[in-house]
Structure formats: C-alpha cells, structure tokens
Symmetry: C2
Subunit: 148 residues, 2 copies
Amino acid sequence: MSDVKGAADLRATVVFNLGTLGALAADRFAARVEALGLKPKHAGLLAALDAGQAASQQELARRLGVAPSLIVALADQLQGLGALERVRDPEDRRRQVLGLTAEGRRLLSACVAAAQAADEELTSGLGDTQRAALARGLRLLGEQHRPA
Amino acid sequence: MSDVKGAADLRATVVFNLGTLGALAADRFAARVEALGLKPKHAGLLAALDAGQAASQQELARRLGVAPSLIVALADQLQGLGALERVRDPEDRRRQVLGLTAEGRRLLSACVAAAQAADEELTSGLGDTQRAALARGLRLLGEQHRPA
DNA sequence: TAGAATCATTCGAACTGTGAATGATTCTGA
DNA sequence: TCAGAATCATTCACAGTTCGAATGATTCTA
C-alpha cells in the first residue's frame, strides 16, 4: 500500500465510521426520546441511576463524563417530571442522593424501547448474522471503555 | 424477557453503544487532528473533496449533512492553510468549485494517519478477529447510510 | 425580458456544555 | 476543641458550534 493516504483509507477506519454512525445513531435516538420530553442525556442519567447503587451527583457526573453542573440541570428537569427524587444523604449532608421513582423506571423503559426501535430502523439493511456480530463487537468495545 | 426494561437492556442496544463510542472516537480523533490545526469537520471536507468529483459548496453541504454556511467557514480556513482553492465555475458563475491542492492532499494524508493511530489505540484491547469483524460491520452499516 | 430560483456569503441567534464563584457541610491536624 | 482546608450541590456568566434568515450576484423560465 502507498504511503500517501486518501479518502478511501479514511472510510476504512473504525474511528471514522464510529464517529459518523455515532452521530447518526444519536440523532435517531434523540428524535424518538424527544416524544417523551427527554434528551439523550436524560436517558443516560436514568440508566446510570438504574444500573448502580444510589449515587451522589458528583459520582454520576464522573460516570457520565460531564460537568457536575450539568447533572444539576438534568436532575432538576427529571425531578420536575417526577422521574427521580433527591434525598440528602444522612451520613454526609452535603450529598444529594438521587433515586428513581416508579415514573422514572417507566420513562427509562420507554427510552429503552425507543433505542430498540431505532436499532431496528438503523440495522434493517443488515442480515441477522451481521447485525449480531456488530452488536457483539460494539458491546465488547464498550465494556473496555467504561469509566472506572 | 420482561416487558419492563432497564439499564442493562439499554446497554445491549446498538444505538446506545454507537452513540457512546462514537463520541469517544470523535474525541480521540479530534485530539490528534488538532495537532494539524484542524477540526474533524475539516478532515471530513478534505475527504469529501478527495473522494468525489469537483463539487460546489452546496453539494458538499448536502454530502456532509451540514448547513451551507458552515461549508463557507470550513473552506475559508482550509483555504487560509493553502489546502484548497476556490474556482468560479465558468459554466455557472454562481458556483464556487473547490479543489484540493498538494498541501490539501498532504493534510488529508496526515488526517488518515491520525485516524489509523486512533484506531490502534481504541481497539488495542480487541483480538485481531474481533477487530476485523467490527471494522467490517461498521463499514457495511456506513455504506448503507450514505447520503445520496 | 421580468420575475422566480439558486448560489455563496454574512450575521444574529439558539443550544449545549463548561468552569469559576458561592454557601453549606465535613474533614484534618495541632 | 477548633480553625482552616476540602468536598458537595448550586448558580451564573461565558465560549464553542451550528443553524436559519437576509443579501447580492447570477442563472433559469415563461
């Protein structure tokens, strides 16, 4: 292969396709959760709350890779929807411990359904085998890049 | 499987992993092309110019999925770097036809190298077989979602 | 040939997310 | 015990990015 690289070489790259398709997938997902009155980051926060133990906002900011001040805004909005509750940690009253409500779990479930529908739409052109291989590869790569 | 869906179901989704990893990949790539004085969109424009026939800015905006006014700004900056030239289309003097210069091809080549290095970094935890499968799946999916 | 359409360009505005400042609370070490 | 440092949630001003409307030049259409 030549040492002068062109557009074709770029398209063969994982990061290029990940970036492009990631933006596309994010748009499709965003369009669907918008019907729930949510942004993708809201869904991310709901999922983080469902996944781990009760966590402070500081800790959630680390997990989601965003500034703590953004968690405040997201939590405000989700609290306004009745999706989560803030409770002062009695053992450290600086901390606000966030917890999902029943409505929060309902919303999260709807977000997951939206993601699955978007999956169906996005990968409809792929055969079952290819779709499974892609899903597996992404899950693997994702597991290796989880924040501690 | 239950009909009430939780965080684990979301993480199993292609769109979720595509979105998350897409953002990660974009960041890694951006950090590398920044050393060249470029943003990822600049690289995208260079690649679009290298790939197709000479195109108007209007057409490039369609291909990249951005507003025409953004193409103006990107092209201004790349022209300032000597990476491309604007030529009035003699057959339609409203159009500016953009073309890569030798410097533009050099920059594109450096962008590709940056993407390949980012690939190496990002997928270093995967086996060769898995990496190839992932690259193939992404390329396939990407080809199906090309703008006309 | 007059008016509609299309192109590149400029400019103001919307949206997102960040980082610095603030007040409350907890920790630390003398 | 207590004074100062550290950590938490919160507010707020700000930067970065992208878009859409307005503009002028050019081309198309009837």
